[in-house]
Symmetry: none
Subunit: 261 residues, 2 copies
């Protein structure tokens, strides 16, 4: 196969039609909703081709159309697959009931994240009781240096690994840590105290507290966080939340075999 066209959205490896179909899923994930013509243009293929691929995806419930002759968006089949994906991760299985309890106790949203290729990958989320809820982070890659989860995961690395993932540190808010030296100091602090706090570092008005989850060997395999609007998580409240998050993370760690000699 030769690269005749730039083909912007398609990686171009493997079975062509499958490759294009998966490209459609990615387009829909990015745009939220698109028409056949729009998708075809994005992939650089003919309308009819895009239509046939979309129809196949629709037969498997991976996409659905909004009206009888309307645009397309991602469907519930994706959620079923996602459920099966997390079901096999015993980390999520073990952590879920504890995360749910933590969400109930704090009234805020609980997230579980792992380290994946220089960023934090969010595996699971339990919504807090409040009507005001943040958007769903599950499946998203989030910068390590601007989140409480990320700092906990960084603190779990040794110095060599830490160095490897530190590239340029993007600025999200005035409070984002952007200097290598400051970040290293912050990571050392997290390591020492066993938890991390991030106030307005990723988004102004967003506060989060995170603690490490360890496996039987004591390695930090994941991070559990409570996050909510800064006006609800004031400095004194954070102190209470820290205790709860750390206790919950320790409980999960125990379930994963940590601390049993």
């Amino acid at each position: 196969m030769v690269d005749t066209v730039p083909s912007p959205a398609v990686t171009g490896a493997g079975v062509q039609s499958v490759d294009r179909a998966l490209g459609i899923l990615e387009v829909l994930a990015r745009t939220g909703e698109s028409g056949v013509t729009e998708i075809a243009a994005e992939l650089g293929v003919h309308k009819s081709t895009a239509f046939r691929l979309v129809a196949t995806l629709e037969a498997h419930r991976l996409v659905e159309q909004t009206a009888d002759r309307g645009r397309y968006r991602l469907g519930v089949g994706i959620l079923r697959l996602a459920g099966a994906t997390t079901a096999r991760l015993d980390l999520v299985q073990e952590a879920r009931p504890i995360a749910r309890q933590l969400a109930a106790d704090t009234g805020e949203t609980v997230n579980i994240a792992v380290l994946a290729e220089s960023s934090a990958l969010y595996l699971d989320q339990v919504a807090g009781s409040s009507a005001l809820q943040p958007h769903n982070w599950v499946g998203q890659h989030i910068p390590l240096h601007a989140t409480s989860n990320g700092k906990v995961l960084l603190a779990g690395l040794d110095d060599a690994g830490l160095e490897a993932v530190l590239g340029t540190l993007a600025t999200y808010t005035p409070r984002t840590i952007t200097g290598h030296r400051e970040l290293r100091e912050e990571v050392a602090r997290v390591r020492e105290q066993g938890y991390a706090v991030a106030v307005d570092e990723l988004e102004v008005g967003l506060t989060a507290v995170a603690a490490p989850i360890r496996n039987a060997h004591g390695d930090v395999v994941a991070s559990m966080s409570v996050s909510g609007p800064s006006f609800r998580l004031t400095e004194e409240q954070v102190q209470d939340v820290v205790r709860l998050v750390v206790a919950a993370a320790v409980e999960v760690s125990h379930r994963l075999g940590w601390g049993h000699r």
Copy 2:
């Protein structure tokens, strides 16, 4: 195309290779982990075909292999897509058309409520066809122990959470459940039968039936109810309404990803 083999797992509609690739995802969702040979047998295709499809899926991170030459399982790309899906999946938005249909079928008012800090918060309401209509509850906080919606939401909690929200139980009518023990029994009954009924418990002359709405993890995230004057919702009518409400709630749950496995 002729049906040479039964081809059990594949629907057989649309673009063949895409259809097969998506079939692989479904196989992996079901088995959790499979080898190329196993997958090929399941789809009724040659090993090499299965391998190429799997490799394409892997390029998009939808599947990943356990070791360098190992079996395959669903990958993190699925989670990423799921994140984009739930971002667009609003409970109210998904439930709206179904609630409207339910209101049309029953002729009564349909409400959707979530749990919010020891009370039921009404998110949406679709008016029934009758001229006699209750006032609009949207945005109001309603006691959990005196409504069908509230009892469904209580039934979705574990025992610890249930205990936490049970304070003093206010009396609204002679039929309001006010004893902790009776309420616990009622909640247990709701849990078992999958729906709740409240007759004259909040207001004399007001009858309501509610069923739980679940997310992809099976958690009860909301409750959907049909309510109307008790003289229209007689005991026999309630039986029909129960079926309709439960069916509607299940349909909404499916749209939110519930029902895998």
